[in-house]
Amino acid sequence: MKLLEVNNLKKHFSVNDSFLANLLNKNSQVHAVNGVSFSINKGETLSLVGESGCGKSTIGRTILGLYEPTEGEISYCGKKISQMSKKEKFGLKEKMQMIFQDPFSSLNPRQKVKDIIQEPIRSHNIVSREEEKDYILNLLDKVGVDGSYLNRYPHQFSGGQRQRIGIARSLSMEPDFIVADEPISALDVSIQAQILNLLMDLQDEFDLTFLFIAHDLSVVKHISDRVAIMYLGKIFEIGDKKDIFAEPLHPYTKALFNSIPELTTTTKENFSVLSGNVPDPIQLPQGCYFHSRCKYAEKICLKKEPELKEVNGRKVACHQL
């Protein structure tokens, strides 16, 4: 069953809203997301992968309503979010939550652990006041934080523990769908594994659906069912994890995979395959967004934007396939 559907989502931000820029009509736009469509089934983990600035975080935040989409539709359980009433949207907050990247800025430094987790519970009347304390203790136990820390402030915890507290806050309203925005990239290696295991355990226990946003491919491979590779606000390749990792098809996916450092005992002569930089998202290039860095680029790639099309059981956006 499709839990979430995103249809031709676009999100542009204006960069220059100064008085003078407005006057001269020189209001330039950052094209963060440029027409993205995908769906997520219940209980599944879809990962959005790409380098910084590819729009993956923007998609997550737009789905959750932190940003208004510039264009396109997002539907939850078959219902368009833009057509929901205010009350329905408030109810939807219980169903869709987020886990943040930076455990040091995702918790209000002036709130105690108890208050941090209490806030969502009270504003949505999840449990009665009498049951509240047990409910919070149970949640903390689930995420592996000692119940005796209820009255501590965030700065008294390590990064890993803070991330666990943030996860407890997201779970407190018993959501079905969670956007995890680089949830482990700010943590130390030995802690990353702890949090990754926790997320997978929680997914099994609460039947959660994840949109997992990451740049670390080995982590993505570990946690996802399906993967979407993004570049400059577009999906270049989307499909089953096994297919994509077994045989990446898009030239960018290939290059990305080759750039990932791996544990090895031999020194590679050359593990960089991609030259140049990502183009400026203010002035999008013509044709395929990747053509300036692609070694297979031909005339058509400079002119026509490739559509996502079925190739070997997945969808790829490339003229050369």
């Binding site: 907050k93 987020m98 918790l107």
Partner: protein
């Protein structure tokens, strides 16, 4: 808090300033019990005691430790009663200005757009007039009065708080914990009170501390000019103004003691304010 105590113990200047300020505040609050008479209770003053020098000088009287003025009021008594009013005006005006400024600043920073433009243009316009000029003009128009003084000074100083509050709000309104609160569905008012206000208080407290000293100075100046505290109330500014007229006749104690007291208050507060700013500044840690 632990940190504050740690840094406090290591800074002698601040310890001295705090002790001085505490003594001044306590003695002005409990002035009734410390000094023998209320200088503004007409029944207790006598013109016979007029212009007595401090106790250690020839003609000094036991009753007046620091001498007395033309009306026979004890200088020390008047100073303590006057300090009480100075502190009352200082704290009240800062609280009033702070509440107005912080509220407007947070709203401007958080919502941005037109609201921001309107509030901040208002602030700019007010800033282009010196605070003193505004206070003098309005007070001259309204006439003397302690309550009026508090309101006028409060309104004349809100801009400083508003600018700081707006800047701090801008820097944290996109932080992940504010996003998390939005995702829970918390409304804007609650976000401002629960998530933004507690996290912008630090710089505000620093400014407020320094502002107390400035407001006390402003009050003294206005009273000196005769448009602040009414003549029927004691005030350091009024005392200095009175004494200053008689400085040439050798009655130095009329002006030196209240003046010195004012300097001590302002200096202590400023030292504490500077220290707070250094200690609370995360960049210096």
């Amino acid at each position: 808090m632990k940190d504050l105590i740690y840094y406090f113990k290591r800074d002698k200047m601040v310890i001295i300033a705090t002790i001085i300020l505490t003594v001044i505040i306590l003695s002005s609050i409990f002035a009734n019990f410390i000094v023998p008479h209320n200088p503004y209770d007409l029944a207790s003053v006598s013109l016979m005691d007029s212009m007595k020098p401090p106790i250690w000088m020839k003609n000094g009287v036991d009753k007046f430790l620091l001498g007395s003025d033309l009306q026979g009021r004890g200088i020390l008594s008047t100073i303590l009663y006057g300090t009480r009013i100075s502190l009352l005006v200082g704290f009240s005006a800062v609280i009033l200005g702070g509440i107005i400024g912080v509220t407007l600043g947070m709203v401007a920073g958080y919502f941005g757009g037109k609201i921001d433009s309107i509030i901040m243009r208002m602030a700019d316009i007010q800033l282009s007039f010196p605070t003193m000029l505004i206070a003098i003009t309005v007070m001259a128009f309204l006439g003397r009065g302690i309550f009026k003084l508090i309101v006028v000074i409060g309104l004349a100083t809100w801009v400083t708080y508003a600018r700081t509050a707006r800047g701090s709000t801008l820097s944290i309104k996109n932080s992940e914990y504010v996003e998390a609160a939005k995702l829970i569905g918390i409304n804007n008012t609650k976000i401002l009170i629960r998530h933004i206000l507690p996290n912008i208080l630090t710089p505000i407290i620093v400014i407020a501390t320094v502002q107390i000293a400035q407001v006390i100075m402003l009050e003294a100046t206005l009273s000196f000019l005769g448009i602040g505290v009414p003549l029927t109330e004691p005030s350091l500014g009024l005392m200095i103004s009175d004494g200053y007229k008689r400085l040439l006749s050798g009655k130095w104690w009329l002006v030196v003691f209240p003046g010195g007291f004012l300097v001590m208050i302002v200096l202590s507060i400023n030292i504490i304010g500077d220290w707070l700013r250094d200690v609370l500044n995360p960049k210096l840690k």
